[in-house]
Amino acid sequence: MNDVRRTAAIGAAGAVAVAAYAWWAVGLPAFSAAASAGVLGAGAAAVAAGARLRARRPSGPAPATGAAGVVPWFVLAGALAALQLVAYLGQPRAEHPTLSYLANVALDTQAARAAAFVAWLAAAVDLARR
């Protein structure tokens, strides 16, 4: 088996393992210590994997990102946070939906929750490698 095929096989096996773990982890009883350990342990492992990728990256000057470039994103994040706060302070929840309320409505099957869990882990790797 050449290197490319071996790498692809390892990647596929890893993806299957992560998907299986996600399916198991989101099926654990809510509010339980096992669920906390299963979710936070995987998240910490994803952050560690991202940090390892970051350490392997050749060091060099970081690309310059001017204030004018990032300010619109901060304004948008602030507006979203304010809207989220207004929703959070209102009742009943169905009339004042927060983002996590909407996420729970969307993720009402184990398959959807497992897919979201994998996406959350992938985003953790990506954030930590930056």
């Binding site: 809510a30 509010f31 998240g43 990102t65 990032v70 619109p72 994103w73 948008l76 004042h96 959350w120």
Partner: protein, 68 residues
Amino acid sequence: MTRELILAGYAAAATAAVALEAAAWRSGPPATLGATLSAVLRRRPARFLLLAGWLWLGWHIFVRVDWR
């Protein structure tokens, strides 16, 4: 009515995010979301807060909800 207003606000925020990203890819400014995150994550306290917040978000969504 409140529900519709809040949902419209979320939709507007999502549309604005797509528009910002598209503008960044065309010529910029603004920076892309990825470049903005990279700039923020170069500062150690922000890095710690963002990663801790991300872990909290996962715990909040996947542990603190009885979805069945």
